[in-house]
């Protein structure tokens, strides 16, 4: 499959393709300035046929690669085509080539990590840091990000955040994932492993790359991410590759933990940098919250839960930590229909329709923040109904994050 830069160059060399490609770009440019009202139906027809023609060209299916040369240019081409061919600017499809590697490919290359699957006694994150400093490439890129991320700029400025995030992106783009994942996704089984979990949380130097004075609303953070080609693409990649699916054993619609972990690590160093937010369990979140969301609170909660409560992402991280992969480890049995029972019975429907949180066995995933709407509704009713609050999150299918059609 051609990358979008080559596909675009190839198209511009062919007369028919290049004319249609130019027409389509004018249509896209025009649409941004609402041209359809101005140009009239004849132009619309031209646009439609140009778009139809582009569907047959190599541009239609072109993708990009992380860290490739001219990555930004490639992503710009992808999004301009995607918007016109898909008719919306959702984040449904990833602009990046699927890596199709398996976690086992990563483990096989990582003697240090694979030989001892996640130990419950050892500090796996410390072992990962040791492995990194014993490898020249990892050591070099680790120091290259820790330096800007820990160098104070002034009394009021902890660091140069832009330099720090750029160096972090370099680290995850350049260092073999057996080392970078080891430090990011190391397993810290609950219990006395606080030092391990805190070390894992510190991997990206959150005081500089992640935290900030104020916490923005998650939808406005998502919006500013979408205005940057790299961030938008890494977010689309994450939403696509870590999409949870209740029916699948792995918990992931795309059944690839490796792709999910790669796309999560791809977000680090962007505006949407996520990080671990608690010691226990795997709870991740970008630096944002859903206060002051108005009517969009459910959309905001849904977006935020794509990080804080995503079964696919959690299974992928646990799989890496335990040295396993999709299909090898049964993280969670999918939902099975319950058996039929006779005569007049009144059965509580296990399956809560309509409140967006999946049937999760581990109750510590239900630590909804106290001002979320679900909780309001729940607390109002909870006194009267003996609700064993089973909620159903994983069914967060690739929701339309932006209503613009």
């Amino acid at each position: 499959r051609l990358d979008c830069v080559k596909a675009s160059e190839q198209c511009l060399k062919e007369y028919s393709c290049s004319t249609r490609y130019r027409t389509m770009r004018q249509c896209v440019a025009g649409r941004e300035s609402n041209f359809s009202a101005v140009q009239g139906s004849e132009a619309q027809g031209e646009c439609r046929s140009a778009i139809e023609a582009m569907r047959q060209s190599t541009l239609n299916n072109c993708r990009c690669r992380r860290g490739m040369k001219k990555e930004k240019n490639c992503l710009r081409i992808f999004w301009s085509i995607y918007q016109s061919l898909q008719g919306n600017d959702l984040l449904e499809y990833s602009p990046y080539e699927s890596v199709n590697s398996r976690l086992s490919d990563i483990f096989r290359l990582a003697p240090i990590i694979a030989v001892e699957p996640a130990s419950t006694k050892q500090n796996n994150c410390l072992n990962a840091a040791k492995a990194c400093n014993l490898n020249d490439t990892c050591k070099k890129y680790r120091s290259s990000y820790i330096n800007p991320c820990t160098s104070r700029v002034s009394v009021s400025e902890v660091c140069n955040k832009r330099k720090c995030q750029k160096a972090l992106r370099q680290f995850f783009d350049k260092v073999p994932s057996k080392y970078s994942y080891g430090m990011l996704f190391c397993a810290c089984p609950s219990g006395h492993q606080t030092a391990c979990a805190e070390r894992r949380r510190q991997t990206i130097v959150p005081v500089c790359s992640y935290a900030d004075k104020d916490k923005p609303n998650c939808l406005s953070l998502q919006n500013s991410c979408k205005t940057n080609y790299i961030c938008r693409s890494r977010l689309a990649d994450f939403i696509s590759n870590c999409q949870p699916e209740a029916h699948s054993i792995s918990g992931c619609l795309r059944e690839s933990y490796a792709d999910c972990l790669l796309s999560y690590s791809g977000l680090i160093g962007t505006v949407m940098t996520p990080n671990y937010v608690q010691f226990l369990g795997i709870t991740l979140s970008p630096w944002c919250d859903c206060s002051s969301s108005g009517n969009s609170k459910p959309d905001c909660d849904k977006f935020s839960e794509y990080f804080t409560n995503n079964r696919c992402l959690r299974n992928a991280i646990q799989a890496f930590g335990n040295g396993t992969d999709v299909g090898v480890w049964q993280p969670q049995p999918p939902i099975q229909p319950t058996a039929l029972e006779p005569s007049i019975i009144r059965r509580r429907g296990k399956d809560r329709t309509g409140n967006g949180l999946d049937l999760l066995s581990d109750m510590n995933k239900l630590d909804l923040d106290d001002d979320s709407l679900y909780n309001i509704c729940g607390t109002l009713q909870a006194q009267k109904l003996d609700l064993n609050l089973t909620v159903d999150t994983a069914q967060c299918v690739n929701h339309q994050l932006d209503e613009s059609a």
Binding site: N123, L126, A129, K130, N133, L134, D136, K139, K140, R142, S143, S144, I146, N147, C149, T150, A195, E198, R199, Q202, V205
Partner: protein, 106 residues
């Protein structure tokens, strides 16, 4: 375990030893580890007239004993990338020019 041993007459070479950060003795307390590379070995073959003259003057006591200047040294001519690590209080540190990358007689 010291690696990159000094075969007879091999001269000034790069050697390495696998250490805990704490072993460096710089005051950091961290369980992280690193490879420390250093330069060791004789530099006889690369002496200049200057070194020969120095040797002769020292030998003939033309220089004050406490003032006998050093001769060619096997030293790093470039250093490894910086070392960074988290100490036991989970504070990041960076140590610069801590390990040799290339050796030479200077």
């Amino acid at each position: 375990k010291v690696r990159g041993g000094n075969r007879r007459g091999q001269g000034c070479v790069l050697k390495q030893i696998h250490l805990n950060v704490t072993d460096l003795g710089l005051g950091y307390s961290s369980s992280e580890e690193m490879i420390f590379r250093y330069c060791s070995g004789p530099c006889r073959k690369s002496e200049t007239n200057y070194d020969k003259i120095l040797y002769n003057l020292a030998h003939n006591r033309r220089l004050l004993p406490k003032d006998t200047p050093p001769q060619t040294c096997c030293r790093p001519i470039s250093f490894d990338d910086d070392l960074s690590f988290l100490d036991d209080n989970l504070v990041y540190h960076i140590v610069r020019k801590h390990s040799a990358r290339k050796c030479g007689c200077v």
